[in-house]
């Protein structure tokens, strides 16, 4: 979905959401109340500077509107790959952004990620995968690494990977694969605003992904292993 269509579909009552280059930020009114909206667009890269700008917005939400739901709009091509980024300790910037999300959660905010574009590797971890629920809408392309790149790195023939990707969900990009693994909670194609308001009424506090991955057949071992360790 294009961003203007997405905003219209999710927030038909109106919103005050500003788009500045790659940053999307503002608020919208749903029947249940006001929600904060924060995200990226234009297939942003997440580097140290971007992580700090988004963290600052999240901290402001926690300070000014503790407990208000945060709708995270996810469209990024991954972490910015550059020597100067890594020189500064990029994982510390990403972790800071994750702690800002955790602070919002500790203050009672429900964090809902809406994937509507690419959501790749470190960028997806930085912004999206730490939400309470992760929703995919048309255009969402969650991915760790393209099959061509996996083939180059692992030296496995691309054809073999493509064949495997037809039957298992564990490594290839795409919404359906992430859904089967439990990494995407639901895929929505209509009634976006209604579904969002229903979701916000539900208890989203538990990380259900391992359990969903087991139920959907994509990750048959993870939940069993977790349970075994808890019982040991």
């Amino acid at each position: 979905m294009e961003l203007p269509d997405l905003l219209q579909a999710f927030f038909p009552n109106g919103h005050s959401i500003a788009v500045n280059d790659w940053l999307v930020s503002g608020e919208a009114v749903l029947d249940g109340g006001t929600v904060s909206v924060l995200g990226t667009t234009n297939h942003a890269f997440i580097g140290a500077a971007e992580a700090l700008i988004v963290s600052d917005k999240l901290l402001a939400i926690s300070e000014q509107h503790p407990g208000r739901p945060v709708i995270m709009l996810v469209d990024n091509r991954g972490q910015r790959m550059a020597l100067n980024e890594e020189l500064l300790v990029l994982p510390e910037y990403v972790a800071h952004l994750l702690k800002a999300q955790q602070l919002a959660r500790l203050n009672g905010s429900k964090l809902i990620a809406i994937l509507y574009g690419p959501a790749i590797a470190g960028g997806f971890i930085a912004f999206g995968m730490l939400a309470d629920r992760i929703i995919a809408v048309p255009g969402a392309e969650p991915s760790v690494m393209a099959l061509e790149a996996i083939s180059r790195v692992t030296k496995m023939p691309l054809e073999k990977l493509e064949n495997l990707a037809k039957t298992i969900s564990v490594f290839a990009p795409g919404c359906d694969n992430f859904f089967k693994m439990g990494g995407v909670y639901e895929i929505w194609n209509d009634d976006f605003s209604g579904r969002l308001q229903q979701l916000l009424k539900s208890d989203v506090s538990q990380d259900l992904r391992a359990r969903l991955g087991q139920a959907r057949g994509g990750r048959k071992s993870a939940q069993d292993v977790i349970d075994e360790v808890l019982r040991a």
Binding site: A95, D224, I226
Partner: protein
């Protein structure tokens, strides 16, 4: 006179590292190799499996205090995060949030997500982070150690930076994208991964220590890691707006001061250090020099 015996963290296996960190004989491993929890996916790629999937987890004591411990085995598929590997660590953390040991100690040695299980590894990495946050919320600190031969990259690097405290040796490398990945995707002029000195001074423990992300820089000697861990068996600092605002300011000024630099030596000079000497210094010497600068 007998010379002190050097016990390298870098070269040891995950179990050897744990043995040197905890009280002798105190480890009770959970899901040990005898239980054979192997990757259900690697066989499809005709790749070998390991009976512990490259993750050792268990309960032990340090100075008589109960700790939970996990260690990634870099010698099995680069310590990569697969489905079972991640689930063992998630289970241990969830157990810690309930049982509340004095600390969870995590030994990182990982190139990141296992590509044959990329989606499971990536999701697993973020489930680990959720579980770390829950452990911290329960009042238990998570202490991360970096000093293995695979370093701490990709998803593992982000997990490690969510820990309360990081302890590393100079040999312990930490970054999201590894030098080889940056070179493959952005070109050799962006990052020459064969230039080992460049790799060490960019991603190595000394540079991370000088930025303040590593709380204690130690020499590559397991007893030194143990001594440092013993210092941090204290309750974690809660995540608050005040703490994160301070961190925001620290990271912003680092970006403002050094964001355009592409060589750690420029940064070390700006910090008032003798950049040519930094690679030669021991952990103690660099710690002393950093206090003065």
């Amino acid at each position: 006179m007998s010379l002190p015996i050097h016990i390298s963290f870098l070269e040891a296996t995950a179990r050897k590292r744990i043995a040197g960190l905890v009280d002798p004989g105190s480890l009770r491993e959970i899901l040990p190799p005898q239980e054979k929890r192997v990757s259900p996916h690697l066989g499809l790629f005709d790749a070998p499996v390991s009976f512990d999937d490259g993750a050792v987890i268990g309960e032990a004591t340090i100075n008589g205090k109960p700790v939970f411990i996990f260690a990634q085995e870099g010698k099995f598929r680069g310590g990569s995060l697969g489905e079972v590997h991640s689930a063992k660590i998630i289970g241990l953390l969830q157990r810690a949030a309930v049982k509340k040991p004095v600390a969870v100690v995590g030994l990182f040695d990982s190139g990141g997500v296992r590509l044959e299980e990329a989606n499971a590894g990536e999701i697993g990495a973020t489930e680990i982070i959720r579980a770390i946050f829950d452990v911290q919320k329960a009042g238990v600190p998570v202490i991360g150690l970096i000093g293995g031969s695979c370093g701490c990259f990709g998803g593992a690097s982000i997990i490690s930076c969510c820990c309360d405290v990081l302890i590393a040796s100079e040999e312990g490398r930490l970054s999201v994208s590894g030098p080889e990945v940056i070179e493959t995707i952005m070109g050799v002029e962006a990052f020459d991964s064969r230039d080992k000195a460049l790799v060490w001074r960019t991603t190595g423990g000394k540079n991370r220590f000088l930025f303040g992300k590593i709380a204690r820089l130690v020499n590559d000697h397991i007893p030194d890691f143990r001594a440092a861990v013993s210092e941090f068996l204290v309750p974690p600092q809660a995540i608050t707006s005040g703490i994160l605002r301070q961190e925001q300011q620290k990271l912003q000024s680092r970006l403002d001061l050094y964001g355009k630099d592409t060589d750690a030596r420029e940064i070390w000079s700006q910090m008032g250090l003798d950049a040519a000497q930094v690679p030669e210094m021991s952990a103690e010497e660099l710690t002393a020099a950093a206090k003065k600068s």
